[in-house]
């Protein structure tokens, strides 16, 4: 049934095509619209002659050139886009990320050192405190400082790093100063240049850290095995009076 119906629909179209070849125009029935369109097209080419063919050829060659141009610009755009991603976006992001991670590491170390400084309060001579004087034996303060620093930065007793430590090598205590009432005329200045007006503990440590992203590339560029982070913290001793 379906085939017959199909054939039935095709038949008038064939007639129209024959009429179009003759140049007599087509019937205007609804079924013959396709035939009419093809008819018009054929008439256009036959009437136009060789000049029209040339125009069409130029148009098609222009079209080809335009298509090639579009393809070329698309390829160029892909290249520019990829180059921007590889040479601009990725390095900028890596730089920002690396800087952020280093700052975070520095913050963690600074917090640990601050806590360690505060722990050195415990070297306060409680007998002297009773007389509203702050006194602190330096050797005891240093011992407490080293112990608490090792605990907070996950270091061994000799300040070498444990596997889960933020440090990548031996941590060195550059300076530990105690500015107390018995040994200091306030205001004074710490070795790193900060003005000190109250009793406080000053410490400065060198801690080796390594970049997280592109570690080998950055270290090769710097020509170093690690980056030395210098962390300087001055923690004031709280006094009630």
């Amino acid at each position: 049934m379906a085939i017959q119906k199909h054939r039935g629909q095709l038949a008038p179209v064939k007639e129209d095509a024959v009429e179009a070849e003759r140049g007599t125009g087509g019937s205007r029935g609804s079924r013959s619209n396709r035939g009419n369109r093809s008819n018009r097209g054929n008439r256009g080419t036959t009437r136009g002659g060789s000049g029209d063919r040339c125009d069409r050829g130029e148009r098609s060659s222009r079209g080809n050139n335009a298509t090639r141009g579009n393809r070329g610009s698309a390829v160029l755009e892909v290249l520019v886009g990829v180059a921007m991603l590889v040479f601009v976006v990725l390095p900028v992001f890596s730089g920002v990320m690396e800087k952020y991670i280093l700052l975070e590491k520095s913050r963690i170390i600074r917090d640990a050192v601050d806590l360690t400084n505060i722990s050195a309060y415990n070297a306060l001579d409680t007998g002297e405190l009773g007389m509203v004087r702050v006194d602190m034996p330096k050797s005891e303060a240093m011992k407490i400082f080293m112990d608490i620093l090792a605990a907070n930065l996950s270091l061994n007793d000799d300040l070498t790093p444990k596997p889960d430590s933020v440090a990548e090598g031996l941590v060195q205590v550059s300076s530990l100063e105690i500015y107390a009432t018995y040994n200091t005329d306030f205001p004074t200045t710490c070795p790193n240049g900060t003005t000190i007006v109250r009793p406080c503990v000053h410490s400065c440590i060198n801690i080796p850290i390594k970049p997280s992203l592109f570690r080998s590339v950055i270290l090769n560029l710097l020509g170093k095995d690690h980056i030395d982070a210098v962390v300087h913290v001055d923690s004031e001793i709280p006094l009630d009076n």
Binding site: N70, A74, L85, M97, N122, T126, I144, I148
Partner: protein, 125 residues
């Protein structure tokens, strides 16, 4: 013309995907910084009080929950006299949705630990 539009669209999508995945790298770092700040202030209070009180522990648990941590485990020294070590160890899990590939997101869980030691300053006569 359509080729150009498609190429521009694909590049834009790639750029957006990269940007989103880059920004998502900062999420756990930011949460860890918040966690450290909360734990540090609790440790300083512990130093003054000579130990971790239960109300402090509950408050810390609540605050950590607010920043998105789950499975929180707080272990702090309950009492230490002047000159003794006080330790605070806090563990938690942070789960967030992360872009894994071009159009695929997955939940990622990060284990976060805060473990610091200080000394008690509380004098008991």
């Amino acid at each position: 013309m359509p080729v150009k539009a498609i190429v521009t669209g694909v590049l834009l999508v790639l750029m957006v995907v990269l940007l989103v995945s880059f920004i998502e790298y900062f999420l756990p770092l930011s949460v860890k910084a918040d966690m450290d700040m909360l734990c540090r202030s609790t440790l300083l209070r512990m130093e003054n009080a000579g130990g971790l009180r239960s109300d402090e522990e509950e408050a810390l648990n609540l605050e950590l929950g607010k920043i998105g941590l789950t499975g929180i485990n707080i272990d702090g020294s309950p009492y230490a006299k002047q000159g003794r070590n006080l330790n605070l160890r806090v563990e938690g899990y942070y789960t967030y949705s992360k872009l894994r590939s071009l159009f695929k997101r997955e939940d990622v869980t990060v284990h976060m630990v805060y473990d610091k030691t200080t000394m008690s300053r509380k004098l008991v006569n």
